[in-house]
């Protein structure tokens, strides 16, 4: 029996290797996994792309009544989309699967999944009880022929309000747990990205879920609204609705003016601790970076003093430093300073057009947009400590306005690779790239809500 099983493992592994489109030779080390309480060791970032072969059959409806409100899609559809976007998995196609998921129910016939080439298996079942749905999310290690015990609430079925929104939220949580199990860091699903969607004459602020769906238009002025940012449940943006441009705050269904000093009031962004808003004001004659009170918009401190343009502040994760753009030496470059305006240091020396810094929430990497000698825009990172520059995008249209995911492993950005600008996602090496937005129109200046 034991020997039998080993042989099966070998066959299964071979099959999964054959089935995987992107598995590199060094997967020998990482794919020979076995299950431990801490999950598998998957060297995703250093090595090549080693994808975990995952089967996610359609959620099983345990009721006799049909699913009329999209419960199946909200549950297994969401998990499948999340794990696909996450870049860590290869999701097996239905045609590859030999197992009969609906028939076997929540007790997998491991041999069938094994022979389908799956290393992991996600099974979800649900039934409706009144206005609730009892959903059961399970992760199985096919190689270990056992269910993986996940933390609460996923250690058994859970009762959730029967709304697509609530079910999707829980499905995102489950996907985050699964990603955490395999990669030791939870996923980012369930978070939001705010951005601008432009048509010819208008630009409006939108919000979407980080899996690229549930797009909601927030402003409807049919004017120009720009540069959204969000923190601590406060959404700031820039608009011409009263001239300016001025900074506004949006919440509870209404917009309130936030900063309307003479000249520019652009790009307000809340500090991680919520105590200050960094913003560009040109009330002194040219654009300078200021800190404002997050509620009143009153000036707390002026941070820069130069004759040049100083703009696009981005907070470090500890709130102690601010990256920004300045053309004080002739061309726009990335700088950092302390949050009190001292300790200014120039970070970029290559190129003559570096803009839109965004500070990784978990490290000292700053992503930014640079224009190269062909006048093409691409995304780079610069290490605050070593000033080492890395290029992440190339030869795929213009790529601009990077924003880090809350876990610091991904960057969302705006790209014209398919024509009109859309929001794409990539990992911090740039190897993995995925189109995130799904709608029409130009998608600009994404800002990933991180706190």
């Amino acid at each position: 029996m034991r020997a039998d099983r080993k042989w099966l493992v070998l066959v299964g592994l071979t099959l999964s290797l054959l089935a995987a489109p992107i598995v590199q030779a060094q997967s020998d080390e990482t794919a020979s996994t076995g299950t431990s309480a801490e999950g598998l060791d998957v060297e995703v970032e250093q090595g090549g792309l080693v994808l975990i072969q995952m089967a996610i059959p359609r959620a099983i409806n345990l009721d006799s009544k049909p699913d009329t409100i999209g419960l199946t899609e909200a549950l297994s559809g969401t998990v499948k989309r999340d794990l696909t976007i996450s870049s860590f998995f290869n999701i097996l196609k239905p045609a590859q699967i030999l197992a009969k998921s609906d028939r076997e129910g929540m007790k997998p016939v491991y041999r069938d999944w094994f022979n389908s080439g799956a290393q992991g298996l996600i099974k979800i079942s649900y039934r409706q009880v009144g206005k609730k749905v009892i959903a059961d999310f399970r992760l199985f290690s096919v190689e270990g022929s056992e269910q993986v015990v996940l933390p609460k609430p996923f250690d058994g079925p859970i009762r959730i309000d029967a709304s697509v929104k609530k079910l999707r939220a829980m499905a995102h949580e489950f996907a985050n747990e699964v990603i955490g199990y395999y990669t030791k860091t939870r996923g980012f699903f369930g978070t939001q990205i705010v951005f601008v969607k432009g048509s010819r004459r208008t630009k409006e602020i939108y919000m979407m879920s980080a899996d690229g769906v549930e797009e909601t238009g927030l402003t409807g002025t049919r004017g120009i609204n720009m540069l959204p940012s969000m923190g601590a449940g406060r959404l700031y943006f820039t608009s011409f609705r009263r001239g300016g441009p001025h900074a506004f705050r949006l919440g509870s269904g209404s917009t309130s003016p936030f900063a309307a000093y003479p000249g520019l009031n652009t790009g307000a962004v809340l500090s991680p601790d919520g105590s200050s808003v960094a913003i560009t004001l040109s009330r002194d004659g040219n654009p300078e970076i200021y800190l404002l009170h997050p509620d009143t918009g009153k000036i707390k401190r002026r941070l820069t003093r130069s004759e040049a343009i100083d703009t696009s502040p981005a907070w470090s994760p500890d709130g102690q430093r601010i990256a920004f753009v300045s053309d004080r030496h002739g061309s726009p470059q990335i700088f950092v300073m302390n949050a009190n305006g001292g300790g200014v240091e120039r970070l970029t020396f290559q190129g003559d057009y570096n803009q839109t810094p965004d500070w990784n929430p978990k490290s000292g990497l700053i992503a930014f947009t640079a224009r190269d000698e062909r006048a093409i825009f691409d995304i780079f990172t610069v290490d605050v400590g070593t000033k080492e520059i890395k290029r992440l995008t190339q030869n795929q249209g213009n790529n601009e306005e990077p924003t880090w995911s809350p876990d610091g492993r991904f960057i969302a950005f705006s790209s014209t690779r398919s024509g009109t600008a859309k929001i794409y996602l990539m990992d911090q090496t740039g190897r993995y790239q995925h189109k995130l937005s799904t709608g029409a129109g130009a998608y600009l200046t994404p800002f990933w809500v991180r706190y």
Binding site: I160, R222, R241, G243, P245, T280, T311, A375, V449
Partner: protein, 236 residues
């Protein structure tokens, strides 16, 4: 594990011995049924154990029907045990199961602005004066731009009652925010020139539209050239 197995053998063995002397195991069966009734929460919160217990109970009943009283009793006892295990597990995760903490997501609906169209939605540009153009990423005035500004200044000096807003614009390349700053620089250069030509400073206001209001929606260099501009709008 070994101990449980031994225990299990003991239980079965004992039951067999007992059952050999008795008839239908009424007590064991009703105890198992009672346990299953108590396990209603487990049906939701520990379904694996619940279903397995249910299966055992069904089997015990079937065995009792067949007159296999000894095995029926042993199976019924096992069913009761498993049902109780299901109850314990369901109790332990009751809160998580019935009211799992929904993640504190952001509800987009709370941020939908209901205030309707803004003033800038009205597109009413009147151009009493001539437009000037700029080089890429430059706010400096070319000779041609200065000639146009001379003419605009003359017009303003003649039409003393008119106030003017100088709008700075950029092409679509570069970031939204930097271009707002650059557009302002362009508008300022133009205003500075008009002031030098003697136009009263109280008659000139500024606005930068950055790359937000292009004159030409094309994406080629010709369109970019037409968009890098300052526009002089006579205020009403």
């Amino acid at each position: 594990m070994l101990i449980t197995q031994v225990r299990w053998i003991l239980v079965v063995g004992l039951s067999l011995t007992l059952a050999a002397c008795g008839g239908r195991p009424v007590e064991a069966l009703s105890a198992a049924e009672k346990a299953m009734e108590d396990a209603s929460l487990a049906k939701t919160c520990a379904p694996d154990e619940y279903l397995a217990a249910q299966k055992l109970l069904d089997k015990a009943k079937a065995l009792a029907e067949e007159g296999e009283h000894a095995r029926a009793k042993a199976t019924a006892i096992a069913a009761e045990k498993l049902a109780k295990k299901a109850i314990a597990k369901a109790q332990a995760r009751k809160d998580e199961c019935l009211n799992p903490k929904t993640p504190d997501g952001i509800d987009a609906a709370e941020f939908v602005d209901q205030s309707g169209p803004g003033l800038d939605a009205v597109d009413g540009m009147s151009e009493g004066m001539q437009v000037i153009y700029f080089e890429y990423n430059q706010p400096t005035l070319s000779d041609e731009a200065k000639e146009t500004l001379d003419a605009n200044a003359d017009w303003l000096l003649k039409n003393e009652t008119v106030s003017v807003t100088v709008e700075g614009h950029c092409d679509e390349r570069g970031s939204t925010e930097y271009n707002l700053a650059l557009g302002e620089k362009r508008a300022k250069e133009a205003r500075k020139y008009l002031l030098r030509r003697g136009v009263d400073k109280n008659r000139i206001s500024l606005v930068s539209y950055g790359e937000e209001r292009p004159a030409d929606y094309g994406t080629d260099e010709a369109a970019h050239q037409r968009n890098r501009r300052a526009v002089f709008r006579a205020d009403e």
